[in-house]
């Protein structure tokens, strides 16, 4: 399996926060979700990988043999976009097209216009245009996506792309990911951070879980769904099942949580129902366990 990025012991120290050491692999040809609570270090890691923030230690290897993120050839292969104010607020679609064309060698103005039309943002060639400051958060994010997708890249890195989108737009975002990956099957990859896991489940092939600056779990979603099980049962059996579970949430009548699949037989003995978890359930279980361990 080829990796688009191999993260080898990346660290970053701030006054009140430490990231890493991060060891992770982002597989080539798939959509990888960076999942974690607020403040887990997702944005810091993405910023480091895209050369926006410097790292304190470690290295990242891109596309098998590139490690200098300041190299323009590498920068041109990565389409990066943050969620908050990626462009100055007084810019219009036309200004964005002009600047993107200057800032990247592979920006296609015509493709940008097509994407703007598809996202119902207007025509970048029109004389009268709205400034970004006048757009809703959702339309701002659509504009950022149109700009980054108008570049001919091999890796899309998006920080919280779904956070300001409505459900329909999130669905469209999943479709966009699929289109992007399928356009050059196996050659393109997507890395995005999110805490809207439920809405992005369809778009996620591989998941990396982060908590308190560390990677706590990673793997293909299908593998993780085999590694973990969702367990629920009556409250009276909760205390017996609890020692075998990674995360546990109990009420007066029932309990639910995530356990390792290897404990499945043991848990069934306590009249529990075992199911394959959704990515959302899996994520809640894994992140809750990490929170309890801290």
């Amino acid at each position: 399996m080829k990796n688009v990025i191999e993260i080898k012991g990346i660290t970053k120290k701030y006054k009140n926060f430490k990231l890493g050491e991060i060891q992770a692999e982002i597989p080539c040809g798939f959509a990888t979700a960076l999942i974690g609570a607020n403040g887990a270090g997702k944005t810091t890691l993405i910023d480091i990988l895209c050369g926006v923030t410097s790292k304190s230690g470690g290295e990242a290897v891109y596309f098998g043999d590139m490690s200098d993120i300041d190299n323009d050839k590498l920068r041109n292969r990565i389409g990066y976009c943050s969620s908050a104010d990626f462009f100055p607020l007084d810019w219009t679609l036309k200004t964005i097209a002009n600047s993107m064309e200057l800032g990247f060698d592979n920006f296609d103005r015509k493709h940008f216009a097509e994407l703007c039309k598809r996202f119902k943002l207007g025509d970048p060639t029109e004389k009268k245009q709205k400034k970004l400051v006048k757009l809703s958060d959702g339309n701002k994010m659509r504009t950022y996506l149109a700009a980054v997708l108008a570049r001919d890249t091999e890796l899309l890195v998006l920080d919280e792309p779904a956070s300001s989108l409505d459900p329909l737009a999130r669905d469209m975002l999943c479709d966009i990911f699929r289109e992007y990956l399928n356009e050059r099957d196996g050659e393109r990859s997507v890395l995005f951070s999110t805490h809207n896991i439920a809405d992005m489940e369809f778009a996620t092939d591989y998941a990396i879980y982060m908590s308190n600056g560390k990677v706590i779990e990673q793997g293909f979603v299908e593998d993780l769904k085999q590694k973990y099980i969702l367990v629920h049962g009556d409250a009276e059996n909760g205390e017996k099942a609890k020692p075998f579970m990674l995360s546990f949430a109990g009420g007066h009548t029932s309990f639910e949580g995530i356990a390792l699949a290897e404990n499945c037989d043991m848990l069934r003995e306590y009249d529990t129902v075992v199911e394959t978890p959704t990515l959302q359930q899996l994520s809640v279980g894994i992140l809750r366990k990490a929170e309890e361990d801290e």
Binding site: R75, D90, S99, L102
Partner: protein, 232 residues
């Protein structure tokens, strides 16, 4: 534009601000001139309305000239402050985009060079036009000398503001820069008023200091920004 050629200073400035050097020069000079002439005209009209009661023609001319001179100092200071304070922090809108574009920090340096060129040309243009207007409609006291003095002091101000742009806190940086710029501008004006319009060693000293300080402060700022603020 699918090429791999490095950006020019003008293109780097356009990437960051949406305006090339020539457009930026015209834009800022236009605003500066418009604002200056508006204030002068406003003061003229206000005094004109009061003229019948107390003010004589001489007094009106003196008030006009003093206000015009002082406002020239203040506005010149503000222009140089604004241009030298365009630091594009990572946390500000667009900050992350600018750190991910081709050339990275080299492009940032080019943008700052473009900004510096803009500031210098704007000062020359602004003061040159004011001087020309003054030749036809005298609005300044010791017009030509004032403009020449202001030119030297505002160039010095560019160097000082570039140094001040190394202050990490945006609010403190902006506040101090405006105060310092206005003081420098007023010294530029006062030095001409005190000597009754004669230019002397103080203007020469300001000009010489500017020639030395601008490149040194720029080099210091570029090194400091890379180390402490570019992608920390």
């Amino acid at each position: 534009m699918n090429n791999n050629t490095p950006l020019t200073c003008s293109e780097a400035l356009k990437l960051y601000s949406g305006k090339s050097i020539s457009k930026m020069i015209l834009f800022i000079t236009g605003i500066a001139l418009g604002l200056y002439l508006f204030i002068v005209l406003y003061v003229l009209l206000m005094n004109g309305l009061d003229n019948g009661s107390a003010n004589s023609d001489d007094m009106l001319a003196t008030i006009m000239a003093i206000v015009s001179n002082i406002f020239l100092a203040l506005e010149g200071g503000i222009i140089t402050t604004l241009l030298s304070q365009m630091t594009y922090e990572k946390e500000n809108p667009g900050g992350k985009l600018f750190r991910s574009v081709k050339g990275g920090y080299d492009t940032y340096i080019k943008m700052r060079v473009g900004n510096l060129i803009t500031a210098i040309v704007v000062i020359f243009l602004f003061l040159g036009i004011i001087c020309a207007i003054n030749a036809v409609f005298p609005i300044l006291m010791y017009g030509t000398a004032t403009c020449i003095s202001m030119l030297f002091f505002l160039l010095l101000n560019i160097g000082i503001c570039t140094l001040l742009s190394m202050i990490p806190n945006g609010a403190i940086r902006g506040g101090i820069s405006v105060i310092v710029s206005d003081i420098i501008g007023l010294i530029g004006i006062m030095s001409v008023l005190i000597t009754s319009g004669r230019l002397g060693w103080i203007q020469i000293a300001a000009g010489a200091a500017a020639i030395v300080l601008i490149p040194i402060s720029f080099k210091l700022m570029i090194n400091n920004y890379k180390e402490k603020r570019w992608n920390s």
